[in-house]
Amino acid sequence: MSSVEFQHLNVEYARRPVIRDFSMVVPAGSWLGLIGPNGAGKSTLLRSVAGLVKYSGDVIVDGSSLSLRSRSRRASLVAYVPQEPVLPDEMTGWEYVLLGRSPHIGYFGHPSKNDRAMVDDVIGRLGLDDIATRHLGVLSGGERQRLVIARALATEAPILLLDEPTSALDIGHQQQAFELVERLRREHGLTVISAMHDLTLAGMYSDRLALLHEGTVVSHGSVEDVLSAETLAEFYGVRVTVHREADGTVVVIPRREQL
């Protein structure tokens, strides 16, 4: 279980600020949903935690700064699932999941028996045995997504970063993928930070939401607080009805323009 604390994070691309003074604490084992219109900085925020972009300020995990850790140590703390993962056609599912062991293998090392056993274990637990022997090029979108999550799990990282993980999936597979992440979060105490497009799904799975707009957090808190029709209208420029189900689920329904 690891908490993540952002302290005054700033990111610039070509002198243009993309993230402005982002500070937030994500408690260990919780799920933070990042929402906001395209270009708000959700992906950049995740990429800075993964160490893929330069930033000023600090990201603290378990009390010490991520930037002070070695690249491989950092990779063993933070598993990153990009929006469009690259899955080489000719690679088998098993080989792909094995890549998740990289952070634990030294520069001159090679996968040990232990690493292989770990991969077999992850594949078994996620029920991917059939997929493991097949080439990635012949798999469906849902199967590919489960392998990507399996690879992240194989890193044994306590923090999971998901960048719009289900944008290419149909509604059934979206649900499956999120249920899988939710199950793993409970089983392993993972801390999840995910950028999400679908506001209803974001509300369903996140403990807390952060709404970003032009690199700044404009609303942050519980799902009920953030997903209000006024806020969404202001920052997404959409006309929506926010509906609350009896079980507490918040449903965001886009509305047609009235003629």
Binding site: R71, P85, V86, P103, Y107, H110
Partner: protein, 351 residues
């Protein structure tokens, strides 16, 4: 999956057997010399424990015949093996770090630079160099090959940093064009040596001696060791620079190390054998078609398969129009291309 993992040593062992058989076939081919079937025996009886005092293998080969085998045929076979292995491994490595299947080890200018170096030596020093203690052609070719790749790398890195490999590839294209243009310009002004330079460029193993083998061996061994060591990194790089970095791989350092090692080996073999095309591009693909695409299995196998391939290609090169020689680069493409097409086809059908 378990079977798949165990299969790697088995595949490598099988390819080593093929390599040895092909090497024997190479030693058995050629004018003069003893009966062909005596040659494996002659080689075997000199291995401690198999000849006198051991198993007692006796070939009945005379000293003069042995000298044909050992001093003329074997250096050529060994050099062909080394060149084939190095170019194939270099090709597989380049394809890996640039994530591009159409790349060969000459991509960043090793061949063009070597060709320019050789051209300059042949045109400026000419036949005077035959009196020199050491033939300057391979030495200068080697240095020019390394120099050209270094310039490519600096140019590419200064534009794109290590963030994109495509700037490096484009810088390579530019450098190859530039070097080739300079070479053509020099050749055009010295048309009397065109034939000699042309022969060098086509690639040759005919003049191979043990001293050539000794000359390239240190670079080739170093290059091979470093490249084989990075096979795991090449597998991780297959998911792209960014994801590889997120998995803890120092992408820039890995790419630089692999490029330097592959270039060192390529430059060394270009210096002694000229430009032998096709091998570095296609042998890695042949291996992938036969044994799968994981670099854990591709990297060791391209060494043995590449070596065997070039030794085999050299046999018709020596015999077809004997006593004249068909350039090895012509043969590699001539037998390699149809074989590759057949392999592609059978693979398509079986999928």
């Amino acid at each position: 999956m378990t079977e798949q993992r165990r299969a790697i040593p088995a595949k490598v062992a099988l390819s080593v057997v093929v390599l040895v058989v092909v090497a024997c076939a190479g030693a058995m081919t050629g004018p003069a010399g003893p009966d062909w079937w005596r040659i494996p025996l002659a080689l075997a009886e000199r291995i401690p424990g198999l000849g006198d005092g051991g198993l007692g293998i006796s070939s009945g080969v005379t000293e003069r015949e042995w000298s044909i085998i050992w001093d003329i045929r074997m250096p050529r076979v060994v050099l062909a093996g080394i060149v084939g292995a190095t170019l194939s491994l270099g090709g597989a490595s380049y394809q890996g770090v640039f994530r591009n299947p159409l790349v060969d080890p000459y991509l960043l200018g090793a061949a063009a630079g070597g060709g320019l170096g050789a051209t300059i030596v042949i045109t400026t020093i000419g036949s005077d160099r035959l009196d020199w203690l050491v033939d300057p052609v391979p030495l200068i070719a080697f240095l020019f090959a390394l120099g050209t790749v270094a310039v490519t790398y600096l140019v590419g890195a200064s534009f794109g940093g290590m963030r994109t490999s495509s700037t490096l590839v484009l810088a390579g294209v530019a450098m190859v064009s530039l070097t080739t243009a300079i070479q053509t310009f020099i050749l055009q002004r010295n048309s009397d040596v065109v034939r000699e330079v042309y022969n060098w460029i086509l690639g040759r193993l005919a003049t191979a001696s043990w001293s050539d083998v000794v000359l390239v061996l240190p670079y080739v061994v170093l290059s091979t060791a470093v490249l084989l060591f990075h096979r795991r990194h090449l597998d991780v790089l297959r998911v792209g620079d960014e994801e590889a970095a997120a998995l803890g791989i120092p992408v820039g350092r890995v790419r630089l190390t692999v490029v330097v090692a592959a270039t060192l080996g390529t430059a060394a073999v270009v210096a002694v054998s000229g430009l032998i095309g096709f091998v570095g591009l296609v042998v890695p693909h042949m291996v992938r078609l036969m044994a799968g695409s994981s670099y854990r299995v591709v990297m060791p196998l391209v060494v043995t398969v590449g070596g065997a391939f070039l030794i085999l290609a050299d046999i018709p090169g020596r015999t077809l129009s004997s006593p004249a020689e068909v350039p090895i680069g012509v043969v590699t493409a001539f037998i390699g291309a149809p074989f590759f097409i057949i392999l592609l086809r059978t693979r398509q059908v079986s999928r």
